[in-house]
């Protein structure tokens, strides 16, 4: 009787937890090989021309991984490790071979107020330490809120630098206000100066680095290999995670329009569209908590070529999105149950590498 009862309870639990999951089918014809072991939270990583890697650990460590050895890079700036903040994304200059610039994002306590906000720095590495450090951008004001630092960094083909900063837990003030930081995608020249043709350079009081606004917390950003458009995804509220294509000066609507609800279940707005605001290319309900983004542009995975890959923190899988005419027509779970997927990159060898919390960096293998 007792056993029966607990079986029933387990079944109920299973049904309950199954309901909370999304309906994306599991693809079992894939596996992984661990490439870098023992990482806690590999927020970002990038391959260098010699095939070594630079890896960020959120807790504030920058690791150079070469020939199976981890070397910690010293002389980092002061990092504000709190809540979702810490050492975040990393990338290299398109011309890294010649100039040696690395770019990274982090939560920085620099400034008058208590707390921290997202910063972008570039530097070079000499003798396992950062040198020639240049702070390119620091969002203000600082806040002790733990949420929504954004962080992703990409370069487009013309060499402009784009990065995301989330709304820092202040959705009512930041995302829709061009005079405030947070809830924006930014665009700078590679040296941190503001491009003349940024959309708000002539708007009074606006932060001139802003490229688009009305975002919540974008933690995936990638250049589409064919169209060269900037694709992002962002953490929405409950049931409102989004994929967007980022266009100059556009408003992506947070928190005025969204498919999501507050985490408590209460409503934010009934509106999912409004004139002058962009609707997402795709949204996830239930939220998968997306982090990391990459397109498969190599020939290593057969007909997966052209797919968009998105990490799910919440449900612990790699989401493969089949794209057709710029829309997501099908999704499936790769590496189902692997752990919280934080970062994704296509390596110089054409294989997909995935940073997973409390596991490491793994290589995706299709059977």
């Amino acid at each position: 009787m007792r056993a029966q009862k607990s079986t029933y309870f387990l079944l109920l639990l299973f049904v309950f937890s199954a309901c909370a999951q999304d309906k994306n089918p599991i693809n079992k014809n894939n596996s992984y090989e661990v490439v870098v072991e023992d990482l806690t939270n590999p927020w970002g990583f990038v391959f260098l021309p010699d095939n070594s890697m630079l890896i960020t650990e959120k807790e504030g460590k920058l690791i150079h991984y070469k020939n199976k050895i981890k070397n910690e890079i010293k002389n980092l700036p002061e990092i504000y490790v709190r809540g979702q903040g810490g050492l975040l994304d990393i990338n290299i200059h398109p011309n890294y071979k010649k100039n040696g610039w690395i770019y990274f994002s982090y939560a920085s306590p620099k400034g008058e107020e208590k707390g921290g906000n997202t910063a972008i720095m570039r530097a070079k590495i000499k003798n396992n330490a950062l040198s020639e450090k240049e702070l390119l951008y620091k969002a203000t004001p600082n806040t002790t809120k733990g949420q929504h630092f954004g962080s992703r960094i990409v370069f487009d083909k013309e060499g402009y630098l784009y990065f995301s900063i989330g709304e820092r837990g202040n959705r009512d003030e930041n995302p829709q206000d061009l005079t405030r930081d947070g809830g924006k995608i930014y665009r700078l020249n590679d040296d941190g100066s503001i491009p003349n043709d940024n959309p708000f350079v002539d708007s009074k009081g606006a932060k001139k680095a802003i490229w688009s606004y009305g975002h919540r917390n974008p933690q995936g950003m990638e250049l589409h290999p064919d169209t060269q458009e900037i694709w992002t995804h962002e953490h929405g509220p409950k049931g409102g995670d989004e994929i967007n294509i980022i266009r100059k000066g556009k408003n992506y609507g947070w928190p005025v329009i969204t498919y999501g609800k507050n985490y408590s279940g209460t409503s934010i707005t009934d509106e999912t569209k409004k004139e002058g605001m962009e609707e997402p290319l795709h949204y996830w309900d239930p939220s998968i908590a997306p982090s990391g983004m990459s397109f498969i542009s190599s020939n290593k995975y057969g007909d997966w070529k052209g797919s968009l890959l998105v990490g799910s923190l919440k449900f612990s899988y790699l989401d493969r999105c089949d794209l057709k005419d710029g829309k997501v027509i099908k999704e499936e779970r790769l590496l189902d149950g692997i752990g919280r997927v934080r970062s994704i990159e296509q390596g110089p060898d054409g294989y997909i590498y995935v940073g997973v919390e409390n596991l490491g960096i793994v290589k995706l293998i299709r059977h």
Partner: protein
């Protein structure tokens, strides 16, 4: 016992005297507890904890242990505060269920840790009248 009643009476008296300028005696545990609405701890909880442990404190089946009516939280005060302060990983059993996840330290101040500890241990049916203090948290080592 007599002493206690006497000091309680005194505390109430002090409290009453100060009520005009709305000050409460923060050094007194008893008064502090009665008047506590744990709003500071609640704010920290919603900001740093609720996304995983959920607004109702029930966590997520098999992945995130509950705080609501959690035997671990109620019986392991020291370990609980330590977990908030330094993070927690490895297997733990909560209400008979085994969990093996990782909770990262959130970078909270000692005062914030005490506040959130007091909120979670006095919410969702949990009761803990001996409130954690900033000093207690400060003295807890890894």
């Amino acid at each position: 016992m007599k002493n206690l009643s006497f000091s309680l009476a005194l505390i109430f008296l002090v409290c009453a005297c100060n009520s005009s300028d709305k000050k409460t005696d923060k050094n007194s545990l008893a008064v502090n507890y009665v008047n506590q609405n744990f709003s500071e701890g609640k704010e920290i909880y919603n900001d740093f904890c609720a996304q995983c442990h959920m607004p109702n404190g029930k966590g997520m089946p098999k992945v995130i242990p509950p705080l609501a009516k959690s035997d671990f939280l109620i019986k392991n005060r020291l370990e609980s505060i330590k977990a908030i302060k330094y993070g927690l990983s490895g297997e733990i059993t909560v209400n008979g269920e085994l969990y093996n996840s990782v909770m990262a330290a959130q970078g909270l101040s000692n005062k914030e840790i005490a506040d959130v500890m007091n909120y979670i241990s006095n919410n969702w049916g949990n009761i803990n009248t001996v409130l954690a203090t900033e000093k207690e948290v400060q003295n807890i080592e890894r």
